[in-house]
């Protein structure tokens, strides 16, 4: 298992602090996703791991080998780390075969065989080999770039938003293929993306960055249900955030009394529930924990968006629900809460 340690990494360009004191350990994960809005420093972080940029401060260690420390760095070509850029960065003056074989030391028939094998791995037709990069579609270019990087048998594969230029359908398929492929080859991958859905589905370790800082890292499930702050909560998915009074592990809020995942805290705070924790009860509304008035229903085919107002304090919240049997505006519905609420740190 690959172990990568980033310690107190910082990097600035002129007056801009691109990455600020980032420490991250990836020891047991085989797929790491670094996610954050554009300009959050995630790509700079990735480029420092690749060796294209050198950190001002901090160190990078891979499997016990120091890649960068004390302002010194190992040049990219000695790192044995694969890199797939956003646009593939295929060499325009080389054919597909020569692109894939660029880093291979093999000669003659053996080289041809290896190139064909790599092309097979990324599920492309052998007829592709004599084509030129400009004759390929975006998805094909990405696959070739991946095959080219795989040829090195890298210790670590860095993926810099490689799917962002692809169509939605192709994107999911590519993501699945890459995850499968790297898993089979036993190569640890780090994916940088601004797309939270992509990050959640790809990773078994997730790191959230914002404004050059690492906000939180952990398993996708953990980050989704226990985000470090409100911004992270909203970045990772839809959330219902309510003010509450907390006492002895119970929150008093617009939805009544709900269990929270923190029994120490006591006082005023904000709590977060994921919308899927809230269920609508149309018939037996009086039996439910809380009641709400339906303000508006926005029909959306498979599921619909309902605006609800809590009579308790007139808070408005939005729920996505099955389009089957929608309540009419103005009617009262019951809300059933499942599981515990997450206490957001102040």
């Amino acid at each position: 298992m690959t172990s990568l340690h980033l310690q107190h990494l910082s990097k600035h360009y002129g007056a801009t602090q691109a990455v600020q004191d980032v420490s991250l350990a990836c020891t047991s994960a085989s797929r790491v996703a670094i996610v954050g809005p554009s300009g959050s420093g995630k790509t700079t972080l990735l480029r420092m791991i690749a060796g294209f940029e050198h950190p001002d401060q901090g160190s990078i260690t891979l499997n016990g080998q120091t890649l960068a420390a004390d302002g010194k760095a190992l040049p990219a070509h000695l790192r044995g780390i694969g890199y797939v850029a956003q646009d593939g960065a295929l060499f325009p003056h080389l054919t597909v075969a020569d692109n894939i074989g660029f880093g291979l030391q093999l000669k003659g028939a053996e080289r041809q065989r290896r190139i064909a094998e790599l092309l097979d791995m990324v599920a492309l037709d052998q007829a592709m080999l004599q084509r030129w990069p400009h004759q390929l579609s975006g998805g094909q270019q990405q696959r070739i770039a991946l095959a080219r990087a795989l040829a090195q048998q890298p210790r670590l594969m860095l993926l810099d938003e490689p799917f962002s230029a692809l169509d939605t359908g192709l994107r999911a398929a590519m993501r699945k293929m890459v995850a499968q492929l790297l898993g089979d080859a036993g190569i640890t991958a780090i994916l940088v993306t601004h797309d939270q859905a992509e990050a959640l589905s790809f990773a078994d370790q997730l790191a959230v960055m914002r404004q050059g800082r690492l906000i939180q890292s952990g398993s996708p499930q953990q980050l989704y249900s226990q985000p470090a702050d409100e911004a992270t909560a909203l970045f990772l998915g839809e959330a219902v955030i309510l003010p509450a009074r907390i006492h002895q592990g119970k929150a008093e809020c617009g939805l009544g009394t709900i269990a929270v995942n923190n029994s120490q805290f006591s006082g005023e705070a904000r709590i977060m529930l994921r919308p899927e924790q809230l269920g609508l009860e149309l018939t037996d509304s009086a039996q439910c924990q809380a009641q709400a008035r339906v303000l508006e229903c926005d029909f959306g085919g498979h599921d619909s968006l309902i605006d609800l107002q809590l009579p308790h304090d007139n808070t408005v919240l939005q729920l996505r629900t099955s389009s089957w049997n929608l309540p009419s505006p103005g009617s009262m519905v019951g809300i059933a809460v499942q599981g515990r609420a997450h206490l957001l740190p102040a």
Binding site: M1, S3, H5, A25, T27, S28, A50, G51, F52, H54, T61, N63, G64, Q65, T66, A68, A69, G71, K72, A73, L74, P75, A76, H77, L78, R79, G80, I81, G82, Y83, A85, A89, F91, P92, H93, F102, G103, H134, R148, A149, A151, Q152, A165
Partner: protein, 522 residues
């Protein structure tokens, strides 16, 4: 898992090198300072001459007359060149004109004929051909390719979706051209127009032969009669000011909007406009421009070559002239491209304010007519570096100063073909920086460098003014040899020189044409 506690290896760590090597910065700065020589010369000589003498030499009827002639030439020629260039470009790129490939070649071909060979062809055909109308006609013939090339490249690059959108918004085809197409051509037209104007101001041979006085011809006459007098220098100063004025005018009116295609993916193929009944007039226009710009020189040349027969080729100085031209051209081209490498590299990979300043130094000097640069180098070498006066060093330096931007433009395009991302990709695949340079950057930049070499070689092999002033005694290039013959009205003996110059330029012209096609993504 426990890797963090186990001993770590720190082998192979290096201090990261400077982003931009110092020698690169230094050499580009040196080249740019050299480029300032002519400008410094003009300023220094004006101060030395003293204000009263300057006023006396500049504010006199002769200067007014030259100014009028030169302005008239620019004001009449540039719009005509633009009209013809844009029309030809549109016809050959966007319409259903038959045999478009053929007409494209014909539109660029006049570049292979040096301007003073054009005038030779016309004057030996029509000896009474002179005055402003003759000068304008020949200028339009010789310089329209400078507009045609960038405009046709821009037309090819343009996204057809823009014109489709305009049409769907209810614009007639003519309105689409005026409101969508033409604004996108503005940069190309302005750039080409500037190039044409600067050539008009700098050209000597063409106008001298037509006996049409411009600043350049007047400076040359002055230099020949009084050598290095203040009169010639002051005229050169006024000429330099005119050029700077043109640069300023272009920069001020060009606007800074960049009309790039937004969005990724390749543009859809253009549907050519149907000419219908206009096909015949369009063909006639192309034919007329072809006959005037190529037919006349070819017929006249053929005539004199036929008349001269084999004897004209048994001229003792013809073959040495060819050798010297090729030698000077090659030396100058290699030197200029090498000098342009640091500047081009910095302008692509490490843009900074200092680098932009350096680039503008080079552009300003190359915008100055050859005669100004030559005059500056004559004066400087005579006064401060006598052993260098009229040596190959001086003439090569003049070529370097005059033609550096040509090398720069092509080189920069070449280096831009190899972005840093590709070098980094090579690095992540195990290539050392040296290997990445050899396997990725050089192959990608080589076509640009080759085009730069070709452009400079073409320019040097047709250069007349600076060569006449600066070349070592006894040097005879094809251009100066041709000039000596025509000055003696020996049109027959001049013909082989002209033919050799045209033949030498032909492959390079074709290359230029091909390069513009490919840089437009064809």
């Amino acid at each position: 898992m426990a890797a963090h506690d186990s001993p770590t290896s720190t082998a192979g760590l290096r201090r990261p090198g400077r982003q931009v090597p110092l020698w690169l910065q230094g050499s580009s700065l040196l080249v740019s300072l050299l480029a300032l020589l002519p400008v410094v010369f003009i300023v220094a000589i004006s101060i030395q001459t003293g204000w009263n003498t300057v006023v006396q030499l500049v504010f006199r009827p002769r200067v007014a007359e030259l100014l009028l002639n030169t302005s008239l030439l620019v004001i009449l020629t540039v719009p005509l060149c633009t009209l013809l260039g844009v029309t030809l470009a549109w016809l050959t790129e966007r319409s259903t004109l038959p045999a478009r490939g053929c007409w494209r070649m014909l539109a660029v071909a006049p570049l292979a004929v040096p301007a003073f060979v054009h005038s030779y062809a016309w004057i030996s055909l029509l000896p009474a051909f002179n005055g402003v109308s003759a000068a304008v006609l020949l200028s339009v013939i010789a310089y329209t390719p400078f507009i045609y090339l960038p405009v046709s490249a821009a037309l090819r690059r343009m996204d057809p979706a823009l014109e489709d959108s305009a049409a769907s918004l209810g614009l007639t085809p003519l309105a689409v051209f005026r409101r969508v197409t033409l604004p996108q051509l503005k940069l190309a037209i302005w750039g080409g127009g500037l190039l044409v104007s600067l050539h008009l101001l700098a050209e000597y041979g063409l106008y001298a032969m037509l006996r049409f006085d411009t600043f350049t011809t007047a400076i040359f006459d002055q230099f020949q009669s009084s050598f290095n007098g203040p009169a010639a220098n002051m005229l050169a100063g006024v000429l330099a000011l005119c050029c700077l004025g043109l640069l300023w005018l272009e920069a001020g009116t060009r606007g800074n909007a960049r009309y790039a295609r937004l969005g990724s993916g390749s543009a859809r193929q253009m549907t050519p406009a149907r000419l219908g009944a206009w096909t015949v007039p369009a063909l006639l226009l192309c034919l007329l421009s072809g006959v005037l710009s190529l037919g006349v020189p070819l017929i006249t040349l053929g005539h004199w070559l036929w008349k001269g027969g084999i004897e004209a080729w048994q001229n003792d100085s013809l073959w040495p002239a060819l050798q010297q031209t090729v030698l000077l051209g090659l030396l100058g081209a290699v030197l200029t491209v090498l000098a342009a490498v640091p500047l081009a590299w910095l302008s692509v990979r490490a843009v900074s304010r200092l680098q932009r300043l350096q680039e503008s130094c080079n552009y300003i000097t190359s915008a100055l007519p050859g005669i100004v640069t030559a005059l500056a180098l004559v004066t400087i070498t005579i006064h401060y570096a006598r052993p260098l006066y009229q040596t190959i060093v001086t003439i090569l330096l003049a070529y370097l100063l005059m033609f550096l931007p040509r090398a720069l433009v092509s080189l920069r395009a070449g280096i831009a073909q190899a972005p840093a991302e590709l070098e980094q990709a090579a690095g992540s695949l195990g290539s050392t920086p040296g290997q990445a340079l050899r396997r990725v950057t050089l192959p990608l930049a080589a076509p640009g460098a080759a085009a730069g070499l070709a452009m400079v070689f073409l320019a040097i092999s047709n250069e007349l003014t600076a060569t006449l002033l600066l070349a070592p005694n006894g040097t005879r290039t094809l251009a100066t040899g041709f000039w000596a013959m025509t000055s003696e009205i020996d049109y027959m003996m001049a013909a082989p020189y002209a033919l050799l110059m045209v033949l030498l330029s032909l492959p390079l012209t074709w290359l230029l044409h091909d390069h513009s096609k490919r840089s437009a993504g064809r």
